[in-house]
Symmetry: C2
Subunit: 119 residues, 2 copies
């Protein structure tokens, strides 16, 4: 079973965290590629990245993709997320891969131009 | 002349600010709808939002769209960006509209699923 973990920064503002959870709900409705699609947060909200990964393992994941919901390749993406993932890598044989962060997607420029039309 | 101003948070890390500027370069190559597409930053980088708007006005904009390059509807999107925009609204008759922030776009969920395949 393939699992997908969308990793957001996390906010003190619950509405922002809920916005990420709703996004994951939408993703679930758009694909059958994953047996589990879930949210984890780098800080300020639950579950943490290690807890999110352990939940996926307990649910029977045989492969996990971590997807950073971030716009730029700052310290969080380059160092903090890999460090959190590494905490669980030692606990399992299941492969855990980290996808490029959202802002690295070529499609973002076109999507922004679309969004500008909604002003 | 329509102008588009992509507004990012801004970072102490210059590479992150340059990443936004490169994104704007890509947007310029993808549309002829705007006579000017430029970047502005809420904080920590230049130009500021008022300066970005004034640059667009000086360049002859007859209509400006401000596009928040943000993932969630936090204080920055709900309060800070509108406040910065209001500073310039009093200086011109040119309409300045604020588009929905990137994270509000329905297409984000599908784009994330695409990005996950690149892990």
């Amino acid at each position: 079973m393939k699992a997908l973990l969308l990793v957001a920064h996390g906010s003190r503002r619950q509405a922002s965290n809920d916005e990420v959870r709703e996004l994951v709900e939408r993703m679930r409705g758009q694909t059958t590629d994953y047996g589990l699609i879930d949210t984890a947060f780098l800080e300020l909200a639950e579950p943490s990245i290690p807890d999110g990964l352990r939940n996926a393992l307990r649910a029977g994941a045989s492969e996990i993709v971590v997807l950073p919901y971030f716009l730029s390749a700052g310290r969080h993406v380059a160092e903090d997320i890999p460090e959190e993932v590494d905490k669980v890598r030692g606990e399992t044989q299941v492969p855990i891969r980290v996808a490029p962060y959202l802002g690295a997607a070529d499609e973002v420029s076109g999507l922004l131009l679309q969004q500008a039309l909604r002003a």
